[in-house]
Amino acid sequence: MKGNGNHNARIGVYVCHCGTNIAGKVDVNAVVEAAAGLPGVVISREYKYMCSDPGQELIVKDVKEHDLNRVVVASCSPHLHELTFRKTTANAGQNPYLMHMVNIREHVSWVTDDGAAATAKAQRLVRAAVERVRWHQELEPRQFPINPNVLIVGGGIAGIHAALTLANAGKQVYLVEREPTIGGHMAQFDKTFPTLDCAACILTPKMTAVKQNPNIHLLTLSEVSEVSGFVGNFKVKVKKYPRYIDEAKCVGCGECIEECVYKEGKYPNEFDLGLGKRKPIYMPFPQAVPSIPLIDSATCIEFKTHKCPKGCVEVCGDRNAIDFTQQVQEIELEVGTVIMSTGFKTFDPCRLPQYGYGKFPNVYTSLEVERLVNAAGPTLGQVVMRDGRKPESIGILHCIGSRDENTNKYCSRVCCMYSLKLAHLLKEKTGAHIYNFYIDMRTPGKGFEEFYKRVLDEGVSFIRGKVAEVSGWAQSPAEEGKLILRAEDTLLGVIRRIPVDMVVLSVGMEPQADANEVRRLFNLGCSAEGWFLERHPKLAPVDTFTDGIFLAGCNQGPKDIPDTVAQAGAAAAQSMALIDKGFVEMEPNTAWIDEELCSGCHVCIAMCPYTAIHFDAEKKIAVLNEALCKGCGTCVAACPSGAAQQNLFRDEQLFAEVEGVLV
């Protein structure tokens, strides 16, 4: 333990105006003057922007000229600029951990009405920091080697793009997908807005590339069950559920599906959202990757009765790929970084019974219509409704489960555009008259507004108003057998009744049903709605508060395909930036135990959630393994004899700070 410098501290205090962000509320000069009078403060200054180059140079110059050995910077949140000012003092030749930041922007000027109260609060916080920084010690960041392998959780377009980016750079990637195939929601779409590229044409080559890339280890029907370790050194357990077909032996010929005892599909195909039927042995869709069928044990006769003639096994013959005895496998992986690309789920319109979903067969969700207009879909692209008719009029209802106080307040960002796309496709395929009911049209994006104009020119009707109800209650012969949409046309100021054959509910996006369990598994935060929390909404949009774990795609919030791909690329680049550095540096805020003071009471050992502390039976004291310590300080708070201490948060530092804020 080095000397604490308590009596020979030479402290410099730097108070930032942050333009008018701080100075507009806090009397910066009064804070500077109050700090100048504190014991040990050699110099106290203000500057317009401390984080700017001249601001930082000011500190560097002072440290050298005035031989400062402690620095206090009163500006914004340490979450924003602690690293900046640590580098500044390091540039001045000082140990970076002898600097302490005071948050007088987020915690003072921005949240306080009264200028005098804000100034007084800022003065107190600065005084506390001056008292605290005296007790700071020189520290060195901990360094650990980084495992260059990457885990990607979720094989939609985000996970696929991130995996290919990393694999093409030579990194080993484990891509974990819980469905039998990768592709995610994008594989279910027909065309993509606004260019009308066929989703399969742009996605399936990337899916195949995943399968062919030797650096990508694809684990389908798999879920992460356990995560431990830390950035650079994560240990992950993956549960791989049985496919009942050996992926190594199967050649994907599909003959087993032909020979199934069921000659026709009998069970709803999940991929087609139940609009099509499948057999117990099936491929989710023809371009699935891996291109290997699976057996659904809940519907397969062999599993149910053990009396199936097993045509599948017979036709597979020598390949012998079918294996009814497969069990859940547990796979252990070691990776250095993780990319979360777990996606979203669509809003369940049953929660809004006024729209008649599940009651009227011809009310569809937008995702179902994607399958209906898809040439590879259950109707081979023919728009045939559940009652067998072709629609002559269609209502598309925007904002179902979005921008709604009763469900989700947020805008799902993609529904206006995909509604326009579906209007175009349905018009093209059926010639039906199409009504779009919208609250506001939101088309911000490259080529989006132009696409809106195009659909307008195609003769699609747009009614500004939210549909109140979908009913089958005909009031005139023209309404017989139709679905009647009642809505206020807010541009005309009238209530309208519009009879249509088919209703499309443009459902919004929601976090996955198990997003909460998943984020806890990976120690991530989430927003009030349940979207995973990024480290900073603007400056660190793919980082999380857990170092080494990055976000890509819709688990972080609703976004379209271009934004998802861009974010996936960014997450891959962030991951690579860590890997290629070769080591990870960690905050030296670990705990340590003073051998002289430890009485061997064992209290701290039970406190540690990482089993970093063990009992040395010979010395009869607790011993802390620094490599395992993550720096929570719980053991320190529990130690009855003051033997356990935490770097950067030692008792002396915190007690001095508490005293400082109260003077």
Partner: protein, 144 residues
Amino acid sequence: MNKFDPSIVGFFCNWCTYLAADLAGTSRMKYAPNVRVVRTMCSGRVDPQMILWAFRNGADGVLIGGCHPGDCHYQEGNYKALRRTKLLHKMLRQFGIEPERLRLEWVSASEGERLRDVVNEFTEQIRRLGPLRAAETTKEAVAA
């Protein structure tokens, strides 16, 4: 009228409540200036002695902010804080300090509004309790 302006120490954990306070700031929410924040990595680092030290040095109230149950960045530090707070509530009474002067709240990083409300509400509660007069009340307790 000379309104009592309480001094409150806030021990906010780095990952949830401190960030909620940052969010309240970036969202420009206005709240009472009485809580002065001391950042710890985890609410589990808050040593009961630090709380007593705060009361001894003139704090009228102490607010501990941690992550919601199950959300602790360090798995279960917030549960440790909960247990310590419960125990300390019992002890504070013996010291002649109203247990209401110490409060533990769960505020996640996305709950800027909740942070504002908790701070305002706790400040108001301490204002109603009036200044801490631990020394006198202790004397009264001893005399009685």
